[in-house]
């Protein structure tokens, strides 16, 4: 029978999840309600009894801790997407073939990135800058958003010339200024793995379980990749 589930979704995956939900509903009849927030906030809420059935986190750390603390159902944690970090500018001529050079020659006032302490994309961006040996040189030009959405806004509004943002945002159909993009080589940073987990509240919720499985279906993987994420091979 069709059930309904409340799924907590990390903000960076919100747009993708919003496209997945109707397709999932069409296929299974289950109703999904999405609640969107930062992973840290969602974690805190779950530990304080939030009525979420499943969590689509922006990292692996928070789902792992939820499992450890007994707020999630063992054996349900899986990576549903891998993030792609890109260097983006709304100016089509700003970034050339090699974004590393664009960063290195430094003719920009501000580089936006997410806060490495808060957002996995921020952590990746910091690792990539370290890898390129640019972190110290650029440190007084870096401005930080608390999440990738804010970081993107800083660039989109023209206040920062460049931003290290999620590929999914740069590629989003909602982005009216595709501009120029340089995908940061995945070797420059640890993989940005986003895990999903079934929460204790939703242990018996068929819809939530079904959605977690659905994330690994071909149809879903096609949508997820289209939004600029990587997916792991199905085991």
């Amino acid at each position: 029978a069709a059930e309904s589930a409340l799924i907590a979704v990390a903000a960076n995956f919100a747009e993708t999840a919003q496209s997945l939900a109707p397709a999932f509903n069409a296929e299974t009849g289950h109703e999904l309600t999405l609640t969107i927030g930062s992973t840290g906030k969602l974690y805190a809420q779950i530990t304080k009894g939030a009525p979420f059935d499943a969590l689509l986190a922006a990292d692996q750390e928070r789902p792992r801790r939820l499992l450890e603390e007994g707020h999630a159902v063992p054996g349900t944690r899986r990576t549903y997407a891998t993030g792609q970090l890109v260097l983006w500018s709304p100016d089509p001529d700003r970034i050339g073939q090699n974004g590393e050079e664009t960063l290195a020659n430094g003719d920009f006032e501000h580089l936006a990135m997410a806060n490495p302490d808060l957002a996995p994309y921020g952590l990746a961006a910091a690792q990539a800058l370290d890898h390129m040996g640019l972190r110290d040189r650029l440190s007084d030009r870096i401005v930080m958003g608390q999440n990738i959405g804010q970081t993107f806004s800083m660039v989109a509004t023209g206040n920062a010339a460049l931003g290290l943002v999620a590929g999914s945002y740069a590629a989003s159909p909602r982005n009216t200024a595709p501009g120029s993009v340089w995908p940061v080589p995945t070797a420059y940073h640890d993989p940005i793995r986003q895990d999903a987990v079934l929460l204790a509240v939703g242990a018996d919720n068929a819809a939530a379980r079904a959605f977690l499985d659905y994330l690994h279906s071909d149809a879903a993987r096609e949508v997820i990749t289209r939004f600029g994420y990587g997916v792991e091979d199905p085991q």
């Binding site: 919003q18 999440n147 909602r174």
Partner: protein, 227 residues
């Protein structure tokens, strides 16, 4: 451009309405007491009233989440009484908003009551008005401008604030997703067009209401003290 879902707006209005009503009910006696007491504890209470303001909303929200969760004494009592958790519910939002907006109600009211002073109240007592009667029929109308300030600040602030509400309520569409959270979410998910539309609706709506309130107020000029 699709027509945005207006449920969050209605929810916000309900929330702000409830919060403002409760704030007036709780804030009035507190402000009254502060305005008239000679207790040495007065500055301490005044400071405590203003204190929630200095904490970042999400952080306050976090502490409220702890304080109101069913495992806390308060949250537990609420669950025992109503069968529902206080967190992630509309009731929880109201409690959180009341706490956070308290200074916006208490301070203007206290200041208004202090300016009204004792003279008109003494006159009313000599016209057989009981203390409650004096408060309702003399002090309150004379403090009308203070009430207006309190209501506008509390209501608008509850509409606009989302940090506390997001933390305590959890952004559940149809239940706790108020308009501020909805707009916030649109901005965060690059849905700028929707954000603009919702913001414009909220601004125009608020503007019309506020102009109405102020224009009405203007026709009833209030004079302080006794003539």
């Amino acid at each position: 451009m699709t027509l945005p879902d207006l449920a969050p707006l209605l929810l916000s209005l309900r929330l702000a309405g409830w919060a403002t009503v409760i704030l007036l009910i709780l804030g009035t006696p507190l402000a009254w007491w502060l305005a008239h007491t000679r207790s040495r504890a007065k500055p301490v209470i005044e400071a405590i009233t203003a204190l929630p303001l200095v904490l970042p909303p999400t952080v306050l929200g976090f502490y409220l989440l702890v304080a109101l969760s069913p495992s806390s004494p308060l949250g537990g009592m609420w669950r025992d009484a109503t069968g529902n958790a206080l967190t992630f519910s509309f009731a929880g939002l109201v409690v959180a908003s009341v706490l956070y907006s308290l200074p916006f109600t208490v301070q203007p009211l206290q200041s208004a009551f202090e300016t009204v002073g004792r003279a008109p109240l003494e006159a009313a007592a000599m016209l057989r008005a009981s203390p409650l009667d004096r408060f309702l029929s003399v002090a309150s109308p004379l403090a009308l401008r203070g009430y207006l300030t309190a209501i506008v600040l509390s209501f608008a602030h509850t509409i606009g604030e989302f940090g506390v509400v997001l933390m305590v309520g959890g952004n559940i569409p149809g239940r706790t997703q108020v308009i501020s959270i909805a707009i916030y979410e649109h901005v965060e998910t690059l849905n700028y067009a929707q954000a603009h539309t919702l913001s414009a609706i909220l601004l125009v709506f608020s503007f019309v209401v506020l102009v109405g309130v102020y224009a009405t107020n203007r026709r009833f000029p209030i004079h302080a003290g006794g003539w």
